[in-house]
Symmetry: C2
Subunit: 412 residues, 2 copies
């Protein structure tokens, strides 16, 4: 991408009402546009990040048997009344709208009901199970306040997988696989070493659910970490009884603020029961399906990556989710796109700053925008190219040929 | 994909209130699920079709300079009030909802306002133009009735590109490119020979807009076609004056029913004016940006393909948008997945019917589901494989090796 052809540009300031660091940096870096509190549009660079995050999640979900589909955003009152969650006194942050005839519709709040309802049409026999459908979709929550940037939007982009299993054993096997898949996702997204598998409250069908909590002062949650065991406990279940059950010792635990980047949940028959979602086993007996849910907010993950890895100059993207691997910054008095073309032809993702602005502004923008590698071309360097990683202060000079080989990963 | 692992299956009947052929076949073929009138979810097979259509459109939009982004679904009242289209008396099929404090939000209705508003922040100079941002997103229209299946949903999935040009000449150049890109899209999607560039009413800034109309009795539009010139005129502008202007002769025109699968529209300064979206030209003069809009409904295109190509046995997918290229139907008393694995390894997209159901049901399902190629394995055929195209009655026998080469396109 030639930066001269990107209609967006960095901004010196973010909107005054934007108090969260993640959204401030993403707005200033031209990744997102704030439509209103808790509602953001993804600009071209931001969409590239979201797409990369989406592909990582998709690969991990497909690897454990996930089957992608796309459910509607409008949700059916009749369907939600079965689980008792249509009522605003039960779920207090619905967004609803109306047909012309006055009939109410919900805007997708979560997908347990929609999936249980769809699968009711298709599941009959033990041969039909287990199944693991999932969606990437936009979710709406009518938050009273929305001040955490893309950590907690009123509108957000989300992956949810639901597991439908024959029995508790089959459910647990999948649940463990999903746990591992989630750890892979956060590892691949570059925040694995800051993200803890965290015991949280489980609801009526399971003592615990599991959250994936990433350490940051900007997080809304408080967790207690056992560094040695590499697990944590959410404050909501931080009791002597629970610690004993988990074989944890208070003196080994450190209190930290964290943001929940994912969660997995055993649902038992909570939703299969009201939907009468049953299957016939080998003996012809009818049994309720056992469900689980597995969610990740993609915008929140993007915001978390920004929040925990940024420095005072701007964003630092891990290579796996960066919109471009390389920022090629041309400071020469006579610019040409020769190296840009070579990089493109080598299938290295590159954004080329060919704009007619000052060198200082270009370098500042490169830092703010945060591509993993910066290449600088300048009259002073002759035919050498300066290479710098965004997360390091080291600068090295190479020939064009060398720099291409390095970026292709052929040598260091 | 092994069909035994797909949780969906074909249905003998579609819901009683579903009167449109496209939705009937897509529901029975397990492509979509009807959530309510005008609202459908995409099941795994349906999402594969949508993704293929999306990729065709994306390639064509990127080829003419399109820059993909993702705008929010919630739309801002303040922004829409600028163009005067927030008022329910102006736009009578909004879906709106409310924040807890009572403030109103719109559900994305169309994107002119959102884009003009975002670009206002970024466009300053002639150097910033032209730009062609686009979105794939879900759009909501509060239709009083919704009886055309996925031709006209209350919720539908849509691509819209907007052009922002310096002047009328630059606009027209792009408009012609977009026309060609749209023709490519419908050609690639398999309905090119049934789809006509159609003159339609243009609004305040242009005498005509252009629609792409696909012939079908199920369509809501009436058009008049000049077969020789390969263009058509929408009934809404079918006047002597217009025919004269377009150099068309009434006696050469044939009246047909058609569905509008795409449209392109010159907007002039209709939206740049209320948003004060201006750029400074080389002389430092401020000028209003010239806009155009270019829309396609992906669900409608999917429905149109089904509607116009299906036969009385079911769907017939063109290879370009088929969820799988090949339906491998195993009728043997002892099934094995050897050929399935060979096809997979040859990167041929294949769905393998390994279910334990009757041969008759399998063959019927293959016809209903509509993959372009059907391969049959049966005890009667020995080690030969039967190959049949879905759109032909010819059946041929080949060795496994031959059939793989044929499907790889290496010989016929």
């Amino acid at each position: 991408m030639k930066q001269s052809q990107l209609f967006t540009h960095t901004l010196k300031e973010s909107p005054k009402d934007e108090v969260s660091l993640n959204a401030q940096l993403l707005i200033r870096g031209a990744y997102i546009y704030k439509e209103m509190a808790g509602v953001y549009s993804y600009l071209p660079l931001g969409l590239r990040v979201i797409n990369k995050i989406e592909n990582i999640i998709r690969e991990e979900m497909d690897a454990i048997g996930g089957l992608e589909m796309k459910t509607s955003i409008f949700q059916n009152k009749d369907v939600w009344e079965k689980s008792g969650r249509w009522d605003d006194n039960v779920v207090n942050n619905w967004f609803k709208t109306k047909l012309k005839n006055g009939a109410e519709l919900g805007l997708s709040f979560t997908n347990e009901e929609a999936y249980a309802n769809i699968l009711k049409q298709y599941i009959n026999s033990y041969k039909d199970l287990p199944v693991y459908p999932y969606d990437f979709k936009t979710i709406f929550r009518n938050e009273a306040r929305s001040k955490s940037g893309i950590f907690r939007g009123r509108e957000f982009y989300w992956k949810a997988l639901y597991s439908f299993s024959k029995d508790e054993k089959e459910h647990q096997e999948f649940y463990e696989k999903a746990k591992k898949a989630y750890q892979n996702i956060f590892q691949r997204a570059g925040i694995g070493n800051l993200t803890y598998l965290t015991f949280a409250s489980g609801g009526s069908f399971s003592k615990f659910s599991h959250e994936f909590q990433t350490l940051t002062e900007a997080g809304e949650d408080t967790i207690y970490i056992d560094e040695k065991k590499n697990i944590a406990v959410n404050k909501e279940v931080y009791t002597d009884e629970v610690l004993k059950e988990l074989n944890l010792n208070k003196k080994d635990l450190v209190e930290k603020k964290a943001v929940e980047v994912g969660n997995i949940f055993s649902l038992g028959t909570k939703f299969s029961d009201p939907f009468n979602l049953k299957y016939k086993d080998k003996d012809g007996q009818e049994n309720l399906v056992i469900m689980g849910s597995y969610g990740i907010g993609l915008g929140r993950l993007m915001g978390t990556i920004v929040e925990v890895l940024a420095d005072d100059r701007g964003i630092i993207w891990p290579e796996s989710v960066a919109p471009y691997k390389v920022h090629l910054v041309d400071l020469r008095s006579k610019m040409d796109d020769k190296l840009y073309q070579i990089l493109q032809n080598s299938e290295i993702e590159v954004i080329y700053d060919d704009r007619e602005i000052s060198p200082g502004m270009k370098l500042k923008d490169a830092d703010l925008m945060g591509m993993p590698y910066r290449l600088v071309l300048s009259d002073k360097l002759g035919d050498k190219v300066e290479l710098k990683r965004r997360d390091s202060e080291d600068i090295s000079l190479y020939s064009e040929k060398e720099v291409v080989e390095i970026l292709k990963g052929n040598y260091k």
